[in-house]
Symmetry: C5
Subunit: 176 residues, 5 copies
């Protein structure tokens, strides 16, 4: 048996974590390190290192995200997870993204736990370089959303119906 | 640990609620405050504040609705939920709406509980302003449907096959 | 608490029903009263009112059918259910119908119980009036199929591979 | 209560079957009797009537296959099932076939049991008569696959990556 | 009863395996023996035959992969599985691949276990011969990913967001 920390891949939790855990899962396939952005944003949130800690995993591609999120919740005690990926630009990549999203949806429902899906499609911009600020913005805003869902839900409810966006500027509310 | 009310996000219900609960979940992404409309309609229903109370949540986007509905039912004791969202107008938004709807479908089946899905697609109207009356009408009619499903199912059965619509005028029955 | 019959919406069955139950669920959205046709056909089947009784429900639209079918089976003891709906003619209606069908599929699998899906798409005919005989024929034939599945499965097996249709004339077997 | 054999539709198995069971489920909708072909092929397999027996069911259409397969496995003790159907040639039929296949997929996973899906699409050939040999070949080869999965898995492993087809001639391996 | 090894197809594990198990499942349908490539790569990984052994299965086609993966995990104790297949080039083959992938997704979530999906679409290259190096590369890289996920997760995390590909050359990270 290779030396793997038992909390990481073992079934069942040996003991309750000393503080809350927020999971961050990203992929080798993505072409921007979105996981680092999410972790950096969470490090700026109140209680980081005291109220909550961050647990990170990397999987090969977006189809592998869902089960890793579920394991982080069920085996490692994460109370919420941020899942980041970058679907490619071919038609088959859109099918993969759809399958990945359905998996994440089922992981949420199976665990009664929020998973913030942060996907940036390579097809969103023509120039690859233009994807970078979108990745940064979307990863950070959804990391903040994860924090809010756990600790400040009123931040969400006061923005209900306000056309809030991640990755781009807010669309804003429609005048009646 | 941040001060979160235990009934809102804790696992398991400490005690049975004193009255029935109807859940309302909306999103920050939507550009019209449909949740407020649903709550307002429910406030007009008989027994509001006596027979039933309304519990509200806001999530980032439509893909986050399903698990929040399931948590409202399983953790907070809601007997029915109204889930409101506004998918955007890009093709990818239609895929997201489909995933969100499949999640809501699975949440219904996992809980044996009705969830009224109130989606207004930005693509339904060319002028954004024209979406507002649709949002208001659809949110209110489905909030009323939620009430009927719980307390007056005969209101539904007497309208069976009558071409009833939400958001627009009724299509009406087809003459045989 | 409003006066709801406990067998209709309560969780768990107080006692076993005195006779078999066949469920019929339809929608307010449909523009033809297909549920009435299904009930009428079942009233013509042997044993109606003695061997089996019919339990009916109406829900707002086709996405609400699956969970109501599951509740009829699990909470009200139905041994089979006929689910009737009429998807609209817009592209989004086809997506809704697909979601509704996937929900019904999952309800079947979760309960190990047949649910006869009776969908008449508004797009099947150009003239609305031409939909009426299709609705009547399809609702009645599938109601009869429900009866056969429970009580006369040999009626089905002797028609295996015979190109049997509901709503239209049978296609018939292909000559080898 | 009508006289139904309890092993056919009752919940739970009264006793373990005396020999293995292989299920065959087909539809009234199909226009070729593929179930008969599958049963005939299984009758040619070693151990038929001694090691294993065949249990058959007919359902209305392809969407009804999945739950009948699951019932054959869970209620009637079948160790593998062959599910046969013929989707029609309209676009809506392709959606139905997709839903039917997803149901069969979930039935496999819920039971940890192989279900051999034998679908012949009416659109595979222009002339209806040309479908008959495809139906015969595909039904028989998959019935044989079912037998191999249970009793001779080495027949499958020695053909790994060999471009084996059912219904048509084998595509064969690609020269490297 | 035919002589089947009980660990291969029996329900439940008689005893814990002496070492870890990695599953490899491939198909008769594929036109390149990708399973052999995966097994060969795993044979090059540290601990092969000591820390872990490889268990192989072949199924007819890609839709049969998911349940075989789930059985390998639940009945045979595999801690991770590599699932290999080659969808054909017709439109219906893309639907089948989508269904196969959704099944594999559900198998992952049901078992909390990673399953590396290795699909090479016949449509990826015009010349069949050009598929062979893609099959070899993708099968080997994902077999290595399986090994890493179990024993060297830091190999994955240090490649996060680096545009790693299987089958083709890496896309690499995007310059910010």
């Amino acid at each position: 048996m290779a030396p793997i920390p038992p909390t990481a891949h073992g079934k069942g939790r040996a003991s309750l974590p000393a503080m809350d855990r927020i999971g961050v899962v990203d992929t080798m396939f993505a072409r921007v390190d979105m996981g680092a952005q999410a972790r950096d944003e969470l490090a700026d949130c109140p209680g980081h290192g005291h109220t909550f800690e961050v647990v990170s995993r990397t999987v090969p591609g977006i189809k592998d995200l869902a089960v890793e999120c579920k394991k982080l919740i069920e085996d490692d005690g994460c109370r919420i997870v941020v899942a980041l990926g970058m679907p490619g630009k071919e038609p088959i990549d859109q099918v993969c993204a759809h399958e990945a999203s359905l998996g994440i949806m089922n992981a949420r429902l199976a665990t009664n736990t929020h998973i913030l899906e942060v996907f940036v499609h390579e097809s969103e911009e023509e120039r690859a370089g233009d994807l970078v600020p979108i990745c940064i913005n979307r990863a950070r805003k959804h990391a903040r959303n994860a924090y809010w869902l756990l600790y400040e839900p009123q931040q969400l409810s006061r923005r209900a119906g306000q056309g809030v966006r991640q990755g781009y500027a807010d669309a804003g509310p429609i005048a009646g």
